[in-house]
Point group: C2
Chain length 140, copies 2
Amino acid sequence: MNTTPAAIADSCLCLAVMRAARRTARRFDDALRPMGITSGQFSILVAIAASKGASLGEIADRMGMDRTTLTRNLKPLETEGVIATEADPDDARRRRLVLTQTGGALLTLATPHWQAAQKATEAQLAGPAAGARAILTEME
Amino acid sequence: MNTTPAAIADSCLCLAVMRAARRTARRFDDALRPMGITSGQFSILVAIAASKGASLGEIADRMGMDRTTLTRNLKPLETEGVIATEADPDDARRRRLVLTQTGGALLTLATPHWQAAQKATEAQLAGPAAGARAILTEME
DNA sequence: GCTTTATATGTGCAACTACACTCATAAGTC
DNA sequence: GACTTATGAGTGTAGTTGCACATATAAAGC
């Protein structure tokens, strides 16, 4: 394996995925800015809506995010009333996350903005976007 | 296009790339921890080494990173003497970034650690890693 | 040359990120 | 049931990220 700086810069998967992530996040942030939420907040809303009643740790895991990071990201969303937490009747340690009615409405309103960014990103991928997702999903 | 929350969670390229980026960064961070640098710092050293004399803005662009983020990330590296800035004789606005001798030595020592993380990440990709890189490179 | 515009960079601020540590509850062992 | 271990979550702290704004230099228009 060639380990000259130039070869590393060209081949490093960490740098490649970080660069792609930063650029993609900016695009989705721009698209969602009119709704007053970031791409990260939108992802949280989607993750919660897609898996009703999942615990904080499960959502964090699904997002590949540190659990404590999610804890803090939830705070403003909870304050604004778009998400809420429920006690788990079977396990007092768990916090089950749910979308409020307001949160559901916000998600519905934000979806077209997401869709625009999603389509733009897909359009830029030469191969099928499904292939890109498959690869990204493998990178865990 | 299906825009139910579950469908969005499954198809969203932003969420997918963010998740992959967080997980990959953690792996490279772990690998480089013995060297006392993060994956981001390693990437900066590589980018500077691979393009000698490039300006701050050029390096930031190459990394898909906000220019101001790079400015701040450079500060500790400069304090520790692994990178330095030179004046550009042709343009007084530009800061040309260079690796110091110490920085070059650090990069050499860190490279095997990077290589281990790189190989582990490549091994986990079912398809050829080159395909993953190509897709990530397209996501800009 | 002087004004206007463009470029390269730095700073204020606010939010995101995660490691180390702590606390509370559940599960397992005897 | 008491003790040990495992699990789910929150907080302290420190670093990362980037938008809005400000500054300095260069280039362009006249």
